[in-house]
């Protein structure tokens, strides 16, 4: 046996002990284990070691650690929450002058940020999956009814082949607890996902997160969010084409 075979054997042995082999590989390994005393000995050693490591007593964290951590984390916010009324009043005035209160802005931005990152996550997963949609069709008359059967309101599904974006399919994503329709277009080797959010969502400024561009606009009963790794200018062209075509529907 060459050392590399030994090494591979060892990794298989480890994976077997750690429950990381699938049923077929585990079955095959068990047969080898039964026939090979050396392998059996190493297996026993790994398990003996595990028993010893797991048998070590562990110190519990000091009983007041959680309370102290909460106090430190809480102290900052306490200071901000219990503002003297004068400061609060001043803040309110400034807020009104600015057209909105700071708190409102912050909560608003956060919502969009979280939604944006979920949408990008869905897009990435779609791009990695064997297919990025639940229903495959280049026919908008197939996709629209498919959405209609699954979500309360079905978004517009414009055909953008003329503009170089071929309809590939549709899928349902879940944001928070809300199922939302996502339309998938192909553009050369890239995909563009357009998620239709309920109207109450806000349109976020164009942004780029982890190399994915995000562009959103409001149209009819939806806020549409397009995400893709195509160049920003191409995505802008896509959004324009989408809006123009959707108007015709």
């Amino acid at each position: 046996m060459t050392p590399s075979v030994l090494h591979n054997d060892d990794l298989t042995l480890q994976a077997y002990c750690d429950g990381e082999l699938d049923a077929v590989a585990a079955g095959a390994f068990e047969q080898r284990l039964a026939a090979d005393p050396d392998l059996q000995r190493r297996y026993d050693q790994v398990l003996a070691l595990r028993a010893r490591l797991r048998g070590l007593s562990e110190d519990a964290p000091p009983s007041d650690l959680a309370a102290r951590i909460r106090a430190t984390a809480g102290a900052r916010a306490e200071r901000q929450h219990h503002w003297p009324w004068r400061a609060m009043a001043a803040c309110l005035v400034i807020g009104i002058l600015a057209g909105s209160t700071p708190m409102w802005l912050i909560q608003h931005d956060r919502l969009s940020d979280q939604t944006a990152s979920v949408i990008i996550g869905n897009h990435i997963r779609g791009a990695l999956a064997p297919q990025s949609f639940d229903v495959a069709s280049s026919d908008r008359h197939t996709i629209k009814p498919w959405f209609a059967a699954r979500v309360a309101e079905s978004p517009k599904v414009p055909d953008l082949a003329q503009a170089g974006f071929v309809l590939a399919g549709g899928r349902i994503d879940v944001i928070g607890q809300t199922p939302v329709p996502t339309i998938v277009y192909k553009h050369a080797a890239h995909i563009v996902s357009v998620t239709a959010l309920p109207q109450r969502e806000t349109v976020a400024p164009d942004t780029t997160i982890a190399g994915y561009h995000l562009r959103s606009w409001r149209d009819g009963g939806f806020v549409y969010v397009a995400v893709s790794d195509i160049p920003e200018s191409d995505l802008a062209a896509f959004a324009q084409a989408f809006i123009a075509e959707a108007r015709q529907l």
Binding site: A15, E20, L53, D59, I69, T72, A73, I106
Partner: protein
């Protein structure tokens, strides 16, 4: 600026894993008071990050922050303890290979491992370089899967597997020598 959502989120995401967080910090720093510092620091990092974070697996997320905080702490306070794989010199590699060779020769029976005292087991684990120790602790103490360990340590799964294998070889070798 913080709001009450962050507190609720922090209570829900980080605090339930405090015991595990402490345990990991304890093994990575080697003592109780440093572990406490690391956990406190990690908690503050977690609290600051929680609003913007998209936490899918709260346990892995919390352990990742503790692990990274512990590494920063080690780099700052005990830089000599942190050995990166690239820094392992030829001598270290030889000694690792030596241990591996021993394992195939006249070597530790599992009886030797079973007979070592708890203190000896603890010492052998504490003596492992941090990069091996963390993998073994995450697998055996925290019972994380390879995939979870890869996520927490930001290493490829293949590296996790080979380090885990090495770490076990080293421990089995060390405990076998305790009681010949």
């Amino acid at each position: 600026m913080r709001n009450s959502d962050d507190h609720a989120l922090f209570d829900e995401v980080f605090l339930p894993h405090l015991q595990e967080a402490y345990r990991l910090a304890r093994w990575l720093t080697g003592n109780a008071s440093d572990a406490e510092d690391v956990v406190q620091d990690a908690a503050m990092r977690a609290f600051r990050a929680i609003g913007a974070a998209d936490v899918i697996n709260p346990r892995a997320w919390s352990l990742t922050i503790v692990r990274n905080t512990a590494y920063s702490w080690l780099m700052k306070n005990r830089p000599k303890d942190v050995v990166f794989a690239e820094d392992l010199g030829d001598a270290d590699r030889r000694s690792l290979d030596h241990t591996a060779a021993e394992r195939h020769g006249a070597t530790p029976e599992d009886a030797a491992i079973l007979n070592a005292t708890a203190e000896e087991v603890r010492k052998a684990l504490a003596a492992l370089p941090a990069l091996f120790r963390e993998i073994v602790v995450l697998r055996e103490m925290h019972e994380l899967s390879y995939r979870e360990i890869a996520a927490v340590t930001n290493l490829p799964i293949g590296t996790v597997m080979s380090r885990l294998s090495r770490a076990r070889q080293l421990l089995i070798g060390a405990l076998g020598q305790v009681r010949p």
